[in-house]
Symmetry: C2
Subunit: 183 residues, 2 copies
DNA sequence: GTTGCCATGTAAGGTGTTACATGATTTA
DNA sequence: TAAATCATGTAACACCTTACATGGCAAC
């Protein structure tokens, strides 16, 4: 249910069309889920019905007409209420951990290539997040505090993946020691 | 779709009933999602139809009859194939980060209590994971390697939450400095 | 006497993913 | 000539959550 709040959040920054919102969602690591048409366009209709946003249709030459959504006062206070609500624990779903749980079925070599694949994927993700952080993605920076919060959100993602990298590297090394120690 | 594999995994350890599987799922931080009747009982029927498990009905006095599921050779090789498949990146959904993104709507005090709440929740989670690790939850330990893998899976969860704690503590402190520096 | 354990399952609804549909314009 | 961008939306399906239903027995 937090896609509603996320949309209200972006609209509290500036009026946007569904299409622009979609791009913001897809580009954001925190929100890339829910970044699909189905949810965004449906949710915008709901928000409009609830009076939390207003809609202006813009007719364009050469392009399909777009709908610009603007947050209302009601929308702003709903957003504020949600931002104040008690936070939930993060959810992680790591199917790789389930794979690992049964990886004793594999030979040492098979297991090591599996781990190497995972390490490589995480490594690429870290690299991607770093370049993304460098080219300073669009973000509201209305106050120093807001700029800082957004920087810390980006940092959160980086540090999660770095942590993951360290973990898998340690795993590979210790498994290697376990194998060589056996001989 | 990894609930199928998770169930096959547990059954590769030993034959289990749906009820026992459910408990294993609910108690596992890695798998607690999907730990509901709806998915488990449905999936067991599917696995049975696909010939990956066999089923023995056990009539009991004083209790409802239970169904014991045993993995077949086909099931084992399906599991092995899946364990070998290229791993996916972990998915994290942290609605708290979205709250934070728009937390510039709040006063410094409101923001700090929000962060304090989150810190407290994470802290409790860490404590829970630690006691859980101490009382050594049921786990297959057929080889030293398997025991090590399961220990590292548990460690993964701990280290994620410890990382989260550090992050939120840093955030609180630096926000505090930002505020006091302003005066 | 209410709660919890055993043990199966169903129902309803919310959330998320993937793919499709339209149709003109620009870019490789 | 194939693809990407703009811009809206629909359809089908998979996945997940919550709650309900049954019914006896044991514990507090």
């Amino acid at each position: 249910m937090s896609i509603k709040q996320a949309i209200l959040g972006f609209l509290s920054w500036k009026p946007l069309t569904g299409y622009e919102l979609k791009k913001l969602f897809v580009e954001s690591p925190t929100l890339y889920w829910s970044g699909n048409n189905n949810q965004i366009y449906k949710t915008l209709v709901e928000l409009h019905n609830e009076g939390l946003v207003t809609r202006q249709v813009q007719l364009q030459e050469d392009h399909p007409s777009s709908k610009l959504y603007t947050i209302t006062d009601q929308g702003l206070s709903a957003l504020r209420r949600w931002v104040l609500s008690t936070p939930e624990l993060p959810q992680i779903r790591n199917s790789f951990l389930i794979q690992l749980a049964w990886a004793d079925l594999l030979t040492p070599d098979e297991l090591d290539t599996l781990l190497a694949n995972y390490e490589e994927e995480i490594h690429m993700q870290v690299a991607m997040l770093q370049t993304q952080a460098r080219r300073k993605v669009i973000a509201p920076e209305r106050t120093p505090r807001e700029a800082y919060l957004w920087a810390m959100i980006a940092k959160h993602w980086l540090s999660f993946h770095e942590n993951e990298l360290n973990w898998v590297r340690q795993l590979r090394q210790e498994l290697d020691e376990l194998e060589t120690g056996k001989e």
